[in-house]
Amino acid sequence: MTNHSIDSIRAGLLKKEFTAEELTKQALAYAEAENPKTNAYLTFSPERALAAAKAVDAKIAAGQDIGALAGVPVAVKDVIVTKGLRTTCASKLLENYIPPYDATAVIRLEQAGGIIIGKANCDEFAMGSSNENSAFGPVRNPVALDRVPGGSSGGSAAVVAQNTAVVSLGSDTGGSIRQPASFCGITGVTPTYGRVSRYGLTAFASSLDHIGPFSRNVRDSARLLQVIAGKDEMDATSADVPVSDYVAALDGNVKGMKIGVPKEWMDGLPSETGDLIQAAVDQLVKLGCEVKEIHLPHTAYAVATYYIVCTAEASSNLARYDGVRYTNRAASANTLADMYRVTRDEGFGAECKRRIMLGTYVLSAGYYDAYYLKAQKVRALIAQDYAKAFEQVDAIVGPVSPHPAFKLGEKVEDPSQIYLADIYTVTGDLTGIPCMSVPCGKTADGLPVGLQILTKHFDEAGMLRLAEAYERSTN
């Protein structure tokens, strides 16, 4: 029943085929009934949702403008705060945390008539790429229930793939929107750094964190991004750059668009994923795009750079979980030092501890220059690779992940191997350019694979246009 798009809900509401309240009740009932299959929702918000739905119905009755997302059931990743609605970050530490304010993205989507029906499961503090690091149990991939949905925004991707929400919000620091979108066969968009306010996004790595949409078609992501994008005085890193009309941009032509395919990405790509990406590239040629091979020479250094920068920033950001202000406190803590240490040891899961430890190490006296400063310099080299590439092309396309969704438990033993699979996604975050995943077919086992599209800073319009043209031509 929630196999709706934003447009079909709007049409249904305006034609009086259903009310927002009816649709919301159905969406909640369906989502609650289906959730045990995937564990994608951590919390449902029926009161908030029904109040928002009634407000939409009242506007329809009064003949007022109903807003761009009127009546649309939305899920919000549980690292994005919602006033009065539990926000756990999928961590035991914040099991009972009730935020006193709303994130800006949440305020904007509710002002546009969006209906938040619940909070989506994820990896703890958005650290992971399988959603197996949640303190409240893993999420299962709706496409193949014995497999992971990807991470860290695994729940946000799963609810959209499972039809238990129409669109959702996720966050991306090293691939956490694009990779789960790819694994679950849906669209996921990481906008330009600063395009969407992070006010109310629980900080993981502040120079890399983004909020972005998930949807079942490109148009819905464009509509949701339109609502949440733009300068916000509550976030000093939000960009004071005009927001394009993303939906209008979808109707543009992609003929003659120059597309680069990085040689360093295609070499060594496992054949099944590689064949699907190559077929997608061939399709872009059929659409009239001019495709050429390009080089991103520092590709092999991206993962190392990313895991220094992100862990360093994480170790600093996660220092606030100290048992004083908004976390559970270890019952056994009798001294201040114990309060910090035991609270944190009991509260954080293994992956968070690994990243805090690595980050603390690379920032510690004697190692700062060798690791953190070195990584910031290589980050500049990676950004130069992209700047040079975009002198020749309008967009870059390639894989999102070297492999499709893997089985639950298959990779938990070896974190360094999991990290290496982030090779195609981390550079988008390190450089801050917009990037997205759009479905480009399935493997012989029926597992979805995503095509990644990246454009210049603030060219979300060009990226979405290319994605939509590709989507339309393959449907």
């Binding site: 220092a319 035991v342 690595l358 190490y361 400063l373 080299l381 801050g432």
Partner: protein, 99 residues
Amino acid sequence: MKITEQEVRRVAELAQLALTDDEIVRMTHDMSAVLVHIDKLNELDTTNVEPMTQVLYEAEETATLRADVEKPSLSNSEAVANAPVTSGGYYKVPRVIER
């Protein structure tokens, strides 16, 4: 570069984590695996490269500044509502200084 158990214990102290002995062993293994991969960056000469601390794009230097004006903020009770232990509107922590 591999890391020793002794170094891991020192980092755990800096990070305010009370890791168990088992966790120290596992952490030493996991951190070493990542640090060995990270050594790859030493292949690159970055002598004359400016570090990139933030994502940069064309903008005024003062683009992120706003007027310093007083605005409503959280009430005291809202601000401390999520704390595990409070007293009289303050956060309460274990005694730090003996009387």
